[in-house]
């Protein structure tokens, strides 16, 4: 029983990380219909920058902010300089973002090398502590991770539900042409949303580099998990990303614990099932 609870807790913490990674991805898709294949590269970039910031300043929250801002900036540049040129041509945008992800991954490999990085955390977070009731040690950072994901999730919901920017984004999701006709500068809004998606990816990268580690290849792992999460949860829905992350995170951990060799099958079995029964995703809206 203790083991089951621990594995469940592991699943929740992993789900928190997947949610952080997938929320920006789903946000960008929801508004622009762009499948941003460079999302994983932005995440990895955020992780690397976070590592550098933590090494220079020694302040962990600053590392999260720095990594997030760096990825936000690069995300904005990508949308402003490249993807924005092909607005409305989603296939071409997706192909361009694949090219970008490969170029960015190689540039990062060139700059940071093939070794593994972990972001140094304050002592209070770096260790583990004994869980009450269960009586086993547990990594502090993983619990912080859940709290962080909840805070980000609520903040994101507030931004989208309560602010003017959120209203514009929601309007854009529903009808881009109408939004444009009403006089909003859609191109600028797209850049802002891309930056917001980059910010979320970058912060997720720093958190991933703290709780786990980052190395070349991490970008593709998180891109894949984000894709699976939003396919299961529903493209463009933040709530769907949370639900999808929860399902995938738990499935992966139960798989690793109870059937280590075939763990990855569970993840994709869920995806296949969702695609077969509800192709638009659990909380997704079908295209009219």
């Amino acid at each position: 029983m203790t083991f089951f609870l621990i594995v469940t807790l592991n699943g929740l913490t992993l789900a928190a990380l997947y949610f952080l990674a997938a929320s920006g991805f789903t946000l960008i898709f929801g508004l622009m219909r762009t499948v941003n294949m460079a999302h994983g590269a932005l995440l990895l970039l955020g992780g690397y920058v976070g590592f550098e910031v933590a090494k220079t300043t020694g302040i962990w929250p600053l590392a999260i902010l720095g990594g997030g801002l760096a990825a936000a900036l690069v995300g904005a540049i990508i949308q402003f300089g490249i993807l924005g040129r092909f607005q409305g041509d989603e296939l071409r945008q997706t192909l361009a973002s694949i090219a970008l992800s490969i170029i960015m991954a190689d540039l990062m490999l060139w700059f940071w090398g093939g070794i593994t990085y972990q972001v140094a955390m304050p002592d209070a977070l770096a260790g583990g502590f004994r869980l009450p009731l269960l009586g086993v040690g547990y990594a502090t950072i993983r619990l912080v991770l859940i709290a962080f994901a909840i805070v980000v999730g609520i903040a994101l919901w507030l931004v989208i539900a309560k602010t003017r920017l959120g209203a514009i984004i929601r309007a854009g999701v529903d009808d881009r042409e109408m939004l444009r006709a009403l006089g909003f500068d859609v191109a600028k809004i797209f850049v802002v949303v891309f930056a917001l998606g980059g910010l979320l990816a970058g912060m997720a990268g720093v958190v991933a580099a703290s709780a786990l580690s980052i190395s070349p290849g991490t970008d593709l792992q998180f891109l894949l998990s984000s894709l699976v999460v939003v396919i299961v949860g529903g493209m463009g829905s933040v709530g769907g990303a949370a639900l999808g992350a929860l399902l995938i995170g738990l499935a992966e951990q139960y798989g690793l614990a109870y059937a280590p060799t075939y763990g990855v099958v569970f993840t994709f079995a869920i995806m296949v099932l969702v695609l077969a029964v509800r192709p638009q995703g659990l909380l997704g809206r079908s295209e009219a």
């Binding site: 083991f3 621990i6 594995v7 592991n10 913490t13 992993l14 490999l109 090398g113 093939g114 070794i115 593994t116 990085y117 972990q118 140094a120 770096a126 260790g127 583990g128 004994r130 086993v136 040690g137 547990y138 990594a139 502090t140 950072i141 993983r142 991933a208 786990l212 580690s213 190395s215 070349p216 290849g217 991490t218 792992q221 992966e252 951990q253 139960y254 690793l256 614990a257 280590p260 060799t261 763990g263 990855v264």
Partner: protein, 415 residues
């Protein structure tokens, strides 16, 4: 119009004939396959350096024949290695292939080598057991050990010197770690130890927390055969969960890059034993000369040759020596060259004598190392034992060793 078309066709055929004419007999082409993309890129690059070093030391030529080195990248998957080899053979027309890097790639190239009897394959650093032990190929040579040979001495050291009785295994789920676990368990189980649980995890697993909590609490130590980022992730998460069992390392688990990375898990590694054929700061004249030659040729390389540079070097070096012996003669499907390879003996960078067994697999010297804290607080590996002349059946009777069956997740077993 028609005559014109015919003329063009004729010219094209003639032109094709010119291009497909055999390359000048004096040039010897060596194709090197290593992993130059993804997580292994930095290590794969070092493998290439090893092969280039051997050719450069020979002055880039053998008995007046120029040696041309052509490199190709694979991505650790068997089919990518096969594609790279096909391209090298069919488009570049190489005579000799040196590579690949990773375990399952080696098995794939061993199979491929049977379809290209005119090309000689020299293994890079891939170390799956069955590449040479079972179903071996006449034109596939391995001037190095397999993953089991690389663990020689560790099982006995863990049982006899460290007093471990029960050890759990955490390893990646493919042929190389299987072979490493076999090497460890063969000695450890024979000495009286037991391995109650083995955890096979996919390569690239980020989150080991559920494996961490599955490890039985009554084991004396954990044998960890994970590489690179996987090892860092597992060790960090084990440490964070309050795990305090001693660690025993595989050949690529506790290398210098892991000892140089940051994290509180490092303290737990002090005293951890591991088995390896390559010790970066080995104290021997041959190794020092090898390192000096390496740093002279590659100022931007690592501070010392890695296990990959070491093994690619030995294979390319063997090729150069055998070519010198036959004066660059590769005629008759390279028969003389292969005979020279089979009988070759040379002094390795670690000071031993390299020679092959009848399956064309190296008989090697192996090192048991342990992690120690240097005076400046950094960690390094030092040699505690040298095991000489380790053959592929680990000193057992070859037929009895073969009868134990091919290595797999469940073989060997001593719960």
């Amino acid at each position: 119009m028609f005559t014109n078309l015919r003329a063009i066709t004729m010219t094209s055929i003639l032109a094709l004939g010119v291009f497909t004419a055999p390359a000048s007999a004096e040039d010897i082409k060596i194709g090197v396959i290593s992993i130059l993309e993804g997580a292994f890129a930095a290590l794969g690059q070092d493998g290439i350096r090893g092969a280039e070093l051997a050719v450069a030391e020979a002055g880039g030529e053998v008995a007046g024949n120029k040696i041309e080195v052509i490199t190709m990248s694979s991505d650790a998957s068997p089919d990518s290695a096969v594609n790279a080899a096909r391209k090298l053979i069919e488009q570049d027309g190489v005579d000799i292939i040196v590579g690949p890097l990773s375990g399952s790639e080696g098995l794939a190239l061993r199979d491929l080598s049977k379809s290209y009897p005119a090309v000689t394959f020299l293994n890079g650093s891939s170390a799956a057991q069955d590449t040479t032990l079972r179903d071996s190929s006449d034109n596939f040579f391995r001037f190095g050990g397999d993953g089991a040979q690389w663990m020689a001495g560790v099982g006995n050291y863990a049982h006899d010197d460290l007093g471990y009785q029960k050890v759990a295994v955490v390893a990646e789920d493919y042929s190389f770690p299987y072979t490493q676990v076999l090497g460890f368990m063969t000695e450890f189980c024979a000495a009286g130890g037991s391995v109650p649980d083995k955890f096979w995890t996919p390569i690239g697993t980020k989150d080991y927390s559920s494996v961490v909590y599955s490890i039985p609490s009554d084991v004396d130590a954990i044998f960890v055969a994970l590489g690179g980022a996987d090892a860092v992730n597992f060790l960090t998460q084990y440490n964070q969960a309050g795990g305090d069992k001693p660690i025993i390392g595989g050949s690529i688990t506790i290398d210098q890059s892991i000892l140089d990375s940051e994290g509180p898990f490092k303290k737990q590694l002090i005293g951890a034993p591991a088995g390896t054929p390559t010790v970066s700061d080995l104290d021997g004249t041959e190794w020092k000369a090898f390192t000096a030659s390496y740093t002279e040729h590659f100022p931007d390389g690592f501070t010392a040759p890695s296990i990959f540079a070491h093994h690619y070097y030995m294979s390319a070096h063997a090729a150069v020596l055998a070519l010198e012996e036959v004066k660059g003669d590769l005629s008759g499907d390279q028969a003389a060259f292969r005979a020279a390879l089979s009988d070759l003996q040379f002094v390795t960078p670690t000071g031993g004598t390299m020679r092959l067994d009848e399956n064309r697999n190296g008989i090697v010297d192996n090192f048991v190392t342990e992690v120690f804290e240097r005076e400046d607080g950094t960690l390094g590996n030092r040699v505690v034992k040298i095991i000489s002349d380790v053959d592929q059946s680990l000193g057992q009777d070859p037929s009895a060793f073969l009868a134990q069956g091919p290595v797999s997740r469940d073989n060997p077993s001593c719960p």
